[in-house]
Every structure is written in C-alpha cells, then in structure tokens.
C-alpha cells in the first residue's frame, strides 16, 4: 500500500488552516480556536501514521516537476518524520499556550495566521526531499516568523525584527548561491539517494568544500552559531509562545536540521569526513557552546538568559554531527528533540512568571516556588535537564555525546562537555535556588512587580496545561529512554540508517 497523500496532506492541513484563519473575522475567537486545535490534533494523528509506516519500512513520496530538472518532492523518512513529529507536537502545545497568553489582546487573527504558516513551513522543511524544496520552506519560515517577532509593534520589537530579517535574508542569499552552485554541479540531488556526492570528489574538491561552507554558513545563521547569533537574543521581545516555538523547533532547529540534512543526506558522512569539514564543524560548535554559556551567565533577565542558553544548547546538535561515529549522531538527533522539549518548557515557565507575577528579572524570582509551585517544578525539571543531570532528558544526550567523543578519540570534546555542564549549572542553579530557597514576596518580603490573579490555579489553566505536559514529556524522555518510539530510540533508528550499524 502506498500513501503518497500522507506528507502532502500534513502540509496542506497546516496551510489550509492558515488560509481559513486569515479569512475568518477577527472577533470569531471560538471558531478560530476550534479549527486551530482540530488541525493541530489532526496533524499529530497524521505524523503518528507516518511514524508507524516509516517504522514498518515504508517511505511515502509525493513529487511533481516544477521545471525541467527541478522537482518539488516531499518524502517521509526517519529523520524528517522525527522533526515533523516534534513540530506538530509543539504546535499543539504552543497553540494552547498562545490562546491563553493572548487572551483579550489585539491582532490575534494575524498572530494565529502567521503562527500556523510558520508551523506549515517547519513541516515542509521536515519532509522536503531535495534542496530546492527545502529552501522554499526555509525562506517561507523566515518570512512567516517576522510578523510574529514584531507582533507587539513596539520600537524595540520593530528593531529586533529588522535585525532578524537582515541576518536571515542575507543567509538566504548565501544559501541560494550555494544551492545554485550545487545544482549546476550535480543537478537535482535527492536527500535519499544512496550515491551521495562522492563521484564529484576527485574533480571538484575545492568547489564541494566551498558549497559546503556556503550551505552550512547559511544554515548556521538560523542555528545561531557564533558569530552569526546576533539576532537571537534581540528576538526575545516576541511574545512568550513565539519565543518558545522559535527556540524549541521552528527557527533555530530548522537551521540545525538543515545542517543535519547537508552532512548526512546531501554530502554523506564519509564525504564530509574526507573533505575535513566535519572537524571544523565540531570546533565551531564547541566555541558556540562555551561562548553561549558564558554570555548566559552575564544576563540578568530571564528570557535573554534562556536565549543564550539556546545558542549554547543547539550547538550540541552540531557538535554531535561533528563527532564521526554512531554515538555522536544518536546524541545529536536525540538532543534535537530533547532540547526542544526542555526549552519549550522553560519558555512557558518564563511566560507564566511574566504574566502572573510580572517577573522579568532573575533577582525578582525569590521564593516564587511557593506562589507558583507547578511552574517552578516544571522550570526545575527543565533547568536540571539542561545541565544534564540524570534522570532528565539532557543526561541521555550528554552521555551519548561523551561516549561518542571518547570513541572518536576526540578527548577535548569531553572537556568541552564538562565545562559547558559546569557553566550551565552556574546559570541555572542560582535561579532554582532563588525559586525554592530564598525568601520573597510569598513569604511576606516585598511584593511582586505586577501580580495578577489569572485563574483558579496558580495561573491561567491554558498556560499551565501545556507547560506541565512538556515538562512531563521531557522527564519521561530521560527516565524511560529505553521505551520504543522514545526520542532516543528513534534517534538510534535514524543513526542506524546513516551508519548501517
């Protein structure tokens, strides 16, 4: 049985919802919410179907020719489905969260419309089977996130949006150049082709290296690798659900995913090693990891600290690619999911603190654990996971990266991991300490910056539910990593495909 409708339907639903939302009037909140949630749930069902089919060994391909030699191709493979799964799961969570977060504010139609478009682009990125298709959705993502970043419309937001566009559009041009060069060299190259680019190695070594540098350099902007990370901390002015989506799956991860595709599916790991670019990637990732952590320590506000933490954490994925060997790959792929789950939790928490208590600065968080226990527990889970303590998801990744580094005999990577864990502890543990051990307004000392009673529970129920869910999932991803279809299990499956263990 073939099911070529599967990938295109998943994409079409997200696009369709975007259209419907833009057509619906601003006031019909209930209808919009229903359609939005319905589509998100349908998408999860579709991705589950894909996962089952991929696990059973089927691949569904949808393609049509755009012009001669350039095809639009969607394909369900293990790696793509993994990313699609993450984005559809987090679409549901962030949508629920956004509904609670934006309740009563203006321009919700625009917001949810572009939000769906943004998710549609990530699904397209996940399922794209060649560079052409990939780039279409990649640029669509750039454009659809801009209105979300500037949603508040303040001077600061517009500034951040301008910088965001400047970075990403320049990167887009670089990418385009790389893609054109590659097409001119090899023609249409499917991500699934077994051959790779090995045939061109002898004659075009320099050109291949140049193309690699152009492509990875282009993707590195969205993946926020130092020194191309400048846009990310500024984009923090976006509303919390946008930051959550941006950091967990949409933009930053799209960049990392692009690099994954280039290294594993376009060039092939052997060729990348042959060209010697893989070590360069590992070094760049290590620099980013350490630099991001150091800058995070210096931040005094919660969201910028989380932003720099993202810069550091996403490069773990790149670092894993840079370790030649199956364990590094497993670590990288698992971290793609783990980091998404943990970071989205942390941003939900940051949003909750800001909405309920008006907390933006870290020194305002004293004793918040008593006032908002669930949020604080979720934050603690996310923070400890980021540090890489067992039994949380982050530990699994760090373990695999460490083992991968030892087996690749790149001992300095272990040092990088240890240093970054220590730095992570240095910027997350003080927050956890403040939450639980310091005395604050909830003990009758001072008052919260801007306290509101948003709901019956510690805050609005819509804000609470997705946060608790993602926190539990990121706990389970570590505690029950051995279960079939856990992130680790799926990452192992993909890595087996790459390395034919």
């Amino acid at each position: 049985m073939t099911a070529e409708w599967l990938p295109i339907t998943a994409l079409a639903i997200a696009l369709l919802v975007t259209g419907i939302i833009f057509v619906l009037p601003e006031e019909s909140h209930r209808l919009r919410t229903t359609i939005n949630l319905l589509a998100a749930v349908t998408n999860i069902v579709l991705v589950t179907l894909m996962v089952r089919r991929v696990a059973a060994g089927y691949e569904d391909i949808f393609s049509f020719q755009v012009v001669g030699g350039v095809d639009f191709v969607l394909r369900t493979d293990a790696l793509g489905v993994m990313f699609a799964g993450l984005s559809s799961l987090l679409w549901l969570c962030t949508t629920i969260y956004a509904i609670g977060y934006l309740e009563g504010s203006a321009n919700r139609k625009r917001f949810f419309g572009f939000f769906s478009l943004c998710v549609a682009s990530t699904i397209g990125i996940a399922l794209a089977d060649n560079l052409f298709t990939f780039l279409i959705f990649y640029e669509m993502l750039t454009l659809s996130t801009y209105p979300l970043v500037v949603h508040r419309g303040t001077e600061q937001a517009l500034n951040a949006g301008r910088i965001y566009l400047r970075y990403t559009l320049t990167a887009g041009v670089v990418l385009l150049l790389g893609a054109v060069l590659l097409y001119s060299l090899t023609g249409d190259q499917s991500f699934s082709s077994e051959a790779g680019l090995g045939d061109y190695l002898n004659d075009n070594r320099g050109l291949l290296t140049l193309i690699f540098a152009l492509l990875v350099g282009g993707f590195a902007v969205k993946a926020a690798m130092v020194p191309l990370h400048g846009w990310l901390p500024r984009a923090m002015v976006a509303p919390a659900p946008v930051s959550a989506l941006l950091h967990a799956v949409a933009v930053v991860k799209a960049g990392a995913f692009g690099i994954l595709r280039v290294v594993y599916d376009l060039y092939g790991i052997e060729l990348s090693v042959e060209l010697g670019v893989i070590t360069a990637l590992a070094v760049a990732a290590s620099i980013t990891i350490i630099y991001g952590s150091l800058r995070a320590i210096a931040q005094e506000e919660l969201k910028p600290r989380l932003a720099f933490s993202t810069i550091s954490q996403v490069s773990y994925v790149i670092l894993g690619i840079g370790l030649f060997g199956p364990f590094g790959t497993i670590g990288a792929l698992a971290h793609l999911l783990h980091q998404g789950l943990m970071k989205v939790t942390l941003f939900f928490c940051a949003g909750n603190y800001a909405e309920e208590l008006g907390i933006h600065r870290i020194d305002e968080m004293d004793g918040a654990g008593k006032r908002m226990p669930l949020t604080s527990i979720a934050f603690t889970i996310g923070a400890l996971g980021m540090i890489g303590l067992p039994p949380f998801a982050g530990f699994i990744t760090k373990w695999y990266l460490g083992i991968g580094a030892i087996q690749a005999e790149m001992y300095w990577v272990v040092a990088v991991l240890v240093i970054s864990s220590t730095l992570n502890a240095m910027y997350f543990l003080p927050i956890v300490h403040r939450l639980w051990f310091r005395l604050g307004p909830s003990h009758g000392k001072g008052s919260w910056p801007d306290e509101q009673r948003l709901g019956r529970f510690e805050t609005h129920g819509w804000l609470l539910l997705p946060m608790v869910f993602t926190a539990l999932v990121s706990l389970a991803a570590g505690l029950l990593a051995g279960l079939p279809f856990s992130p680790l299990d799926w990452a192992t499956r993909v890595a087996n495909g790459e390395y034919l263990l």
């Binding site: 054109v180 097409y183 001119s184 060299l185 226990p373 303590l389 067992p390 039994p391 530990f395 699994i396 373990w399 460490g402 083992i403 580094a405 030892i406 087996q407 272990v414 240890v418 220590t422 003990h443 570590g478 505690l479 029950l480 990593a481 051995g482 279960l483």
Partner: protein
C-alpha cells in the same frame, strides 16, 4: 512478589516526599505533622526487600537500560542501609519534637526548615536505595547524585554560620566528586562500550589506561568515602548536622563511596595488570595513612561529633586498605569481602548509635548517669573490636589475611584499632564535659537503644552468605581485644600529659583551611590579570570607537552611492538574475 517489593521500596520514599510537599501547600501549619508515621516508614519496604531473597530485574525502558539486582553483596548492603535509615527516622521524630512544637506555634523560619528536611530526607533515602540495587551505570549515577545533592538539606538544616560553612564545603567537594565520577564512567564506558557496572569492571581490567580510569572513579567516590585529602567535609559537616542526619551521613552515605569502589574496581581478579596493582598499593597506603592521621588529629578535637567524624575517616581508611587488597593481593578477596561487608555494616550501626548518642547526652533522660554512659560506650567498645559484633567483624577481616600471610597489614590494622579506641574514649569524655539535662523523647532514646542492640548483634541479622563469617577461636581473643584497653590507656595518658598545656585545639576540617588559603591566594593573580584585561578592553573599545567614528565619516559619503543603488535596484536585480541564469546555462552546457 519481589518485583512488587522493589517497586514499592523505590516508590514509597517518593510518595512520602510527595505527601510532605502536599501538606506544605494544603495543611494549615498549626496542624502539620512533619514527621508522621508515614514519614518514619519511608525505608521499611527497602528493609523488607533485603530479606526477600536474591533477585534480578532488567527493565529496558529505564533510561539507558535498567539492570537491578539483589545479589550476595547488595542484599546485606541494603539490609544495613535500610535498617539505619529506619532507626534514624524514628530518632528524628524525637529529636525534632521541640522544633516541631515551635513550628506549630507559628515560627515560620522553623516551619521552612522542617519542611525542607522532611521533603529531602526521603529523597536522600531514595537515592541511597537506588544506588545499592543498581547494576547499570545510569541508575547508579542517578542514585549517587540524588543522594549527594539531597543530603545538602540535611547538613544545612540549622542554618547557622557553621552549618552554612559545613554545607558549602560538603557541596563543593560533592560537585568535584560528581565531576570525577562522570568523567571516569564516560571514559571507562566509552572504551569498553558498556552500560553496566560489570562491563566497567571488565573494561578497566583490559583497558590500556585502566589504572587512570580506576583513579578517576576512586577519587570521585573517595569524596564520599572520606579518602585522605578529600575528607575535609566530614569534620566540618558532621558537627553541624542534626544528630539523625549525622547518623545516616556517617553510617550509610559514606559507605556508598565504598560500594562504588567495590562496584567499579576489578577486585579479586586473577590477572590484575601491573599498573592497576600499582594503583592498589597507592590506595592501600592512602587508606592506612587516613586511618592513623585521622586518629592522631581527631583526639584533639573539642566537639564530640567532630571527634566521631575523624573516627569515621579513620575507619573508612581501614576499609580503603582492605578494598585495595583486592587489587594488591587478588587471591585474598573472595575470603575477605564478607568480612569487609560485615565491617561496614557494623560500623554503620555502631557509628549511627554513637551519633544518636550525642543527642542523648545533650538531652539526658532521668536515668542513672553511669547506666547512660555505659550504654553510650557499648557501640564504641564494639567498634574497637573488644565485644560483640566488633570482635567477629575484626576476626572476619583478620582470618583471611592470616591465611594468605599478610601479617604486617594485620599489625597495622590492630594499631589503627588502638586509634579507634582512643577516639571513642575522647568522644565520650567530650560528651561528658558537654552534657546537658533536658529529658529525651521516647522516640529519641528508643531508636538509640535499638541501634545499640542492632550494632552489637550485627552478624545475627545481616544476610551474608551462609558460613562466610565465624566466631574467633578462643586463643585469638587476646589478639583482637588488646587494642581497646591500649587505646583507652593511651587516651588517658595523653590527657594527663597535655593537661599542663592549656592549648587551643586544632580546627576541625584540617586541610580545608589550607585549601581555602591556596584558592584565595590563587585568586589574587587571577584578579590582577582580570583587572588588567578589563583595562585593555576599555582601551581597545575606546580606540575602536574612535576608529569607527572616523570610518563612519568616510562611510556617510557612501550614502550618495546608496541612494543611487536604491534608484537602480530593480535594474540591478535583473542583472543579477540574468547572471545567475547565465551561470546555470553555462554549467548546463558544460
């Protein structure tokens, strides 16, 4: 059935912690019972589990693959661990009764402290139970880390200046230890491609750098076990922790380090490579050095709990030396290990009772004082090997060493036992000097008495393999007993000799003050460099800014060019597109 019991013994502490958190938010403070019967029962399922027989579990879904087992080693270990945790919990209920009343009367500070303790006590227990049954690296590491970090709350409980210092030292060394352990595990597991402790043992045996892996792991676990040099937290943390916390800290938690060694070192293996045997010698010497040095330093301490902490270091030194024998003389290990486990179990209960005893001497019940001090001395005398389980455990260690002709080590251990006797005498003397009336709670002295009983008859209840432990033959008794009177006499002599010099006692935590001094001294040049760097940075920023300003002047001339570009942008785009298309076509032809 066993599986159910295992699940229960891991989930029960979690439930207890959950209940305690629930009460914090739901029950009004005036009716809150921090140390309820439920709380006291946290370790009971684990105790039951230890007596349920041997069993093995493999849980693929658990983290990196769970391997848990109750074997001939982990059963007795779990038994004494869970027993001491249970007794200490009962003791705690009595010990904190006064604070409990304060909390119910509305003292918010006390409420918070008790809340923290009642929540993190079962978590510490959970970590400890998990690490005993774990046979895979991830579970073991999880248990160890959980125990280590949750125990911070136990040390810092009173919140005084000294308590904060003790807790800080504890935490700093714990973090160092965790780092070393993780590095060692990663290295060994990466080389051997394994996820179990068994695999680590085998990997260390065959790996080229096995001795270094062993060294990393040993130092990491050594922080807990109080290896000389890394022991400084013990005498600083013990005196400030509440008595029941000190009891579990010194009784079972430092034993976790010992269990760590036994779990990762290829002890008693036929072909120990030379480098590893060399490492064994280093460990042996370090152990003996700790055994003697701690005794010599400890007798001059003023605080009874500090004296007892030094006694723990000294005792752990002996155990270190015995573990090292597994590398140095592997043939002795199969006979030696049951004796070592008995030694550890007996020390756990005896030291636990001694620490609980310190809370009794601070709140003396209305009993005849000679009776109280006789009871107080019993676990100490047993620890020195003169009565009860102490004799049997000494013999359990000695007889295999005799059999394999390691007489010199036996002699050294006997002299170390003299040190133990002296330390215990000093501790009891300090307790006498600092005794206070006040009346103990029945829970408090009940647990203490039960602890003494359990310590004296350890071999009766410890589920060791049948026939592995025997009573010493009558002719050997003198050889086992003599260190005790010798130690007491030495202590009295020393007291008489040093009485004329009313000197100050050396500070607890010995080397810590040296470390802190070195760290501070090292910070001075770093600060200077940092200062210089800051200056350089400021200067370069200023220079760059002036350069930028000059550059911007030139650049603003470019504005004209920009407006030209704006006017012709569409045309330029077309040209670019044409160039790209031409490039494509040209390549297509080629």
């Amino acid at each position: 059935m066993m599986t159910l019991l295992l699940a229960l013994s891991l989930l029960w502490p979690l439930c207890v912690a959950g209940c305690s958190a629930w009460h914090a938010y739901r029950t009004p403070s005036s009716r809150r019972d921090y140390f309820s019967l439920l709380w006291v029962s946290a370790a009971w399922p684990a105790l039951l589990l230890a007596y349920g027989g041997e069993a093995q579990w493999t849980i693929d879904a658990w983290m990196l693959g769970g391997e848990w087992a109750l074997n001939s080693l982990s059963r007795p270990w779990l038994a004494f661990t869970a027993l001491l945790w249970s007794l200490a919990a009962v003791h705690a209920r009595g010990y904190f009764a006064a604070e409990h009343k304060q909390a119910q009367a509305g003292d918010q500070d006390v409420q918070r402290r008790l809340q923290r303790l009642s929540l993190l006590w079962p978590m510490t227990l959970l970590g400890n139970v998990l690490l005993v049954v774990a046979q895979d690296i991830a579970s073991f590491y999880l248990g160890f880390a959980l125990m280590t970090f949750a125990a911070y709350a136990l040390v810092v409980h009173t919140g005084t200046q000294e308590a904060r210092l003790g807790a800080r030292v504890y935490l700093i060394l714990a973090v160092v230890g965790e780092g070393l352990i993780l590095a060692g595990f990663l290295w060994a597991a990466g080389e051997a491609d394994t996820l179990t402790l068994q695999g680590v043992r085998e990997g260390i045996l065959i790996a080229e750098q096995g001795a270094w892996m062993a060294a990393l792991l040993c130092l990491g676990f050594g922080v807990k076990a109080g290896v000389i040099g890394l022991h400084v937290w013990l005498p600083l943390a013990h005196p400030v922790a509440p008595a029941p916390a000190s009891a579990v800290l010194s009784g079972v938690m430092i034993k976790a380090g010992l269990l760590g060694w036994i779990s990762v070192l290829p002890l008693g293996h036929d072909e120990v490579p030379g480098a590893l045997a060399q490492f064994g010698h280093v460990m042996l010497i370090a152990g003996l050095a700790a055994a003697f040095a701690a005794a010599l330093y400890g007798v001059f301490q003023r605080h009874p709990k500090a004296v007892l902490a030094y006694s723990s270091i000294s005792q752990m030194g002996m155990m270190t030396a015995l573990v090292a024998m597994g590398l140095v003389a592997p043939d002795v290990w199969p006979l030696l290990w049951p004796g070592l486990v008995l030694f550890a179990a007996h020390h756990a209960l005896a030291k636990g009772s001694l620490f609980m005893g310190t809370s009794i001497s601070e709140h003396l019940p209305r009993w005849p004082l000679p009776l109280v001090w006789a009871l107080m001395a019993l676990p100490g005398i047993s620890l020195a090997g003169a009565i009860g389980a102490g004799m049997i455990s000494k013999w359990g260690v000695k007889s295999p060493l005799y059999e394999m002709h390691h007489e010199s080590l036996i002699k050294l251990l006997s002299w170390a036992a003299v040190g133990t006797a002296a330390l215990v005498s000093v501790a009891l003397w300090r307790q006498w000097q600092q005794r206070e009336q006040g009346g103990s709670n029945p829970w408090q002295w009940g647990a203490w008495l039960a602890g003494i009983m359990a310590a004296l008859v350890t071999p009766l209840w410890l589920p060791l393999p049948a026939g592995s432990i025997e009573m010493a033959p009558l002719k050997e008794w003198l050889g086992i007993i003599w260190p005790f009177p010798a130690g007491v006499v030495l202590a009295v002599l020393g007291w008489l000799l040093t009485r004329p010099f009313k000197g100050k006692s050396p500070p607890a935590g010995d080397l810590w003050w040296l470390y802190a001094f070195i760290a501070n001294a090292a910070l001075v040049p770093i600060r200077l460099i940092g200062h210089a760097c800051g200056k350089i940075k400021a200067a370069s920023v200023a220079a760059a800014q002036s350069m930028e300003k000059r550059f911007m002047v030139y650049l603003s001339r470019g504005l004209a060019g920009e407006s030209w570009l704006r006017h012709h942008s569409s045309g330029l785009m077309m040209v670019l597109a044409a160039v790209l298309a031409a490039l494509l076509m040209w390549e297509g032809q080629g």
